[in-house]
Amino acid sequence: MRIWAAVRMTIVLTVLTGIVYPLAIAAAARALFPWQAEGSLVTSGGTVVGSALIGQNFSAPRYFRGRPSAAGNNGYDAANSGGSNLGPTNKSLLTAVAARVHEVRESNPGTTTVPVDLVTASGSGLDPEISLAAADLQIPRVAKARGLDEDTVRKLVRANTERRFLGLFGEPGVNVLMLNLALDRLRPGDRPAGS
């Protein structure tokens, strides 16, 4: 008798909280915020190039680079999120960070200090952002590779910077994918919008 009540209550509450509730939220989300509900997907020329919220790999000098990623085998695997989980006294951490610092200095001549976020893996492996310092450091390289003046690139960086919420919560950051897309949309001689 008691067991039967427990089983019935399990089924009833599963239907309510496990089926009706998520389906209702999905329907309401689709009606109210369709773009976000679908994953904030960004298209270019009709094809999906990524999500505004999800970082991706960049290697060419003409693109800003994101943070090192431990997601999947090649980084930025958005079906396999995760961090490095290297402990603070693990030799492998020191070796990896030292190699990345070296690489940043090689590809960005004239670098004085290397911001920590640019040489450490994010928690998700999909961090879409880098710090303002990490973006500034790459401006000369990107400008040179594209034949643009640094001010033009700097203005685009500022335009793709997310501020703190209410000026208080979180940290400012530069969305790397959106910045690179904006760079690609820039025709030679163009000035970024708003300037």
């Binding site: 427990a6 089983v7 209550m9 399990t10 009833v12 509450l13 309510l16 496990g18 089926i19 509730y21 998520p22 939220i25 309401a28 989300a29 689709r30 109210l32 976000q36 509900a37 679908e38 994953g39 094809t47 999906v48 190039v49 990524g50 999500s51 919220l53 999800i54 790999n57 960049f58 290697s59 999120s81 995760g82 961090g83 490095s84 989980n85 290297l86 402990g87 603070p88 006294t89 693990n90 951490l93 020191l94 960070v97 030292a98 200095r105 911001p115 920590v116 976020d117 450490t120 893996a121 994010s122 928690g123 998700s124 492996g125 999909l126 880098i130 500034d136 997310e162 940290e171 897309l181």
Partner: protein, 575 residues
């Protein structure tokens, strides 16, 4: 930097206070079956649930009947989830055609979600179908939280009732917690999360062609509906492997704030529910004060240690100094949008409670920064705590505190008009001792058995910390991890599942027995010799008792892990 940290943390606790007082009073009305503004909408649903479930909410239960109903309900839900995991390959809403979950992992996950732990030895996006996520996992997020609230309410009734045999009806408490508290908040806040960018769909994973020409497969799913109950119910099981560090689970500083507030809301609110139900709001405020002080101590140390950074990273040439251009600090395993302060705050909040969601990888914290989450769990997650379990855990500590005060003055201790006698003290001590037993014994087995040692991913003392953290998290029903530990092995899946079940049910039973024992007592009138439990002296005494119990129990273990590693790190020693 320091100013921003103080303002953020100060504003956060102010918001928690502002939310928890009205929420606590509302919850008191819900469980007293008084009128609320949601009644016209929810009363018909409530009646339907009782009819379909075949239960009679007006039948009062003794503590034994209450416990049996809770245990049978948990067992049925655990079996259902195990079945869903094993059969998901043949069931709908599985666009990625994910196959059956292996038996040991399915058992571990079923135990994990049934016990409100949400320890995850798997990556969500690569293991669980959409149906398993919603009907299996999100269902448990609701009902395990509702069951926790139910037991807290039953325990409060134990203090309030006099010469009573019964402590309420489990089905009534469970249903009302789900319908009046969890669901309405989830509906509103899930949509707020979607607005900020959390997806909610049933689409197959998106194949994006990146601008450098590679293919990026982006996992999707009904994330928002599950995300909010994960926090509100202090469950913590991520839709994705990276949990709340994943930009789809937690895209902005605003979603981060919402999620942290959701984690604390009910646990904090229940202290005021308690104050209201026992007829003295100051009794609730005293517990709230104890929790707030312990919270602030933890978050201060964690933020300081993470902002100070890892000297190894500086040695490798990384600049960890905070400025207007970067958050600096130990950014390994952290997200730029959260920086140091919001990561350390989240880590403290999620382990003060039994949540265990993470927005940064605790395994990569500095040793001292990682000690705070560990210590928060070892204290027993009574700093606001798991929904329900935090309050009944704190009430057990309060019973111990008045007992110690009674010994000091040579009087029979009382709490809220109830004499605390031999039987109550035995049950309280059972509750307090079961917890470290099911952490330390299995953890010490794991460090001597090859199957346990095989899971370690970081050498040196950090490897021991990984194992200690895992069993602490399982016993405390937290679910966060030093996630480098390779825990998806039969050894860890089975031992951790058993620890989670013991940590939940072996502790709930003495809690309910204590409630039953208290309800049966008569009330003694307050006299000049009664030790007041609603003032500053009691707050200080209770904090002292909590810290001393945790330190006596866990200091030797912690010294071998995080504490020795901190010393090693400061001296430049690597492993």
């Amino acid at each position: 930097m320091l100013a921003n940290a103080i303002i953020q943390i100060g504003l956060f606790i102010a918001l928690v206070t502002a939310i928890s007082v009205p929420l606590g009073h509302y919850m008191a009305r819900v469980f007293a079956n008084e009128k609320t503004f949601l009644d016209p909408l929810l009363k018909p649903v409530e009646r339907l649930i009782y009819r379909l479930g075949g239960v009679h909410p007006e039948n009062e239960q003794t503590w034994v009947e209450y416990a049996v109903a809770m245990l049978l309900f948990s067992a049925a839900g655990m079996l259902l989830l195990y079945g869903l995991e094993r059969l998901q390959g043949w069931l709908p809403l599985n666009p990625q055609a994910l196959g059956a979950v292996a038996p040991d992992l399915a058992f571990n996950t079923a135990a994990s979600f049934t016990t409100n732990t949400n320890w995850q030895a798997y990556g969500g996006e690569s293991t669980m179908s959409y149906l398993t996520q919603m009907a299996g996992l999100a269902f448990h997020n609701f009902v395990s939280a509702a069951a926790g609230i139910a037991i807290a309410i039953a325990m409060i009734r134990g203090f309030v009732r006099r010469n009573a045999k019964t402590i309420g009806n489990f089905w009534f408490d469970l249903t009302r917690a789900t319908l009046w508290i969890l669901l309405p908040i989830c509906v509103v806040m899930a949509l707020a999360l979607v607005w900020q960018g959390v997806p909610d769909n049933f689409a197959p994973y998106v194949r994006a062609k990146t601008i450098e020409g590679a293919v990026q497969t982006i996992a999707e799913g009904p994330v928002a509906s599950q995300e909010i109950i994960k926090e509100l119910g202090t469950n913590g099981g991520g839709f994705f492997n990276a949990n709340s560090a994943h930009p789809y689970e937690n895209p902005t500083p605003l979603t981060n704030l919402i999620e942290m507030l959701a984690i604390f809301a009910i646990g904090a609110g229940l202290t005021h529910t308690f104050g209201k139900m026992v007829g003295d709001p100051r009794q609730g405020w005293a517990l709230y004060g104890v929790m707030t002080i312990l919270f602030l101590m933890g978050v201060a140390v964690c933020t300081w240690s993470e902002q100070r950074g890892n000297p190894m990273l500086a040695r490798a040439g990384a600049n960890e100094v905070a400025s207007a251009m970067q958050s600096g600090g130990n950014m390994e395993g952290k997200e730029v949008r959260f920086g140091i302060v919001d990561s350390a705050l989240f880590a403290t909040v999620t382990t003060d409670t039994s949540c265990g969601a993470v927005n940064s990888m605790h395994d990569s914290y500095t040793p001292l920064g990682g000690l705070i989450p560990l210590l928060n769990m070892q204290i027993g997650e009574i700093i606001f705590g798991g929904v329900g379990s935090g309050l009944y855990g704190m009430l057990v500590m309060a019973v111990l505190a008045v007992f110690i005060a009674g010994l000091m003055v040579g009087r029979t201790p009382e709490y809220l008009g109830k004499k605390i006698e031999g039987r109550e003290m035995k049950l309280a001590m059972l509750f307090i001792l079961i917890f470290p037993l099911v952490i330390l014994i299995p953890a010490s087995l794991a460090v001597v058995l090859p199957a346990g040692l095989a899971g370690i991913s970081n050498p040196g003392p950090h490897g021991f910390s990984q194992i200690l953290y895992a069993y602490t998290s399982a016993s405390a029903n937290n679910g966060s991890a030093f996630a480098g530990l390779n825990a998806n092995t039969p050894f860890y899946n089975v031992t951790l599942a058993l620890v989670m079940l013991c940590g939940r049910f072996l502790m709930k039973i003495p809690a309910l027995a204590l409630a039953g024992s208290l309800a049966a007592k008569k009330s003694v009138p307050e006299s000049a010799g009664t030790f007041p439990t609603n003032g500053a002296i009691f707050v200080i005494l209770l904090i002292g008792v909590i810290l001393i119990v945790a330190a006596l129990t866990f200091f030797p273990a912690d010294a071998l892990g995080p504490i020795v590693e901190q010393l090693a790190m400061r001296h430049g020693h690597l492993y």
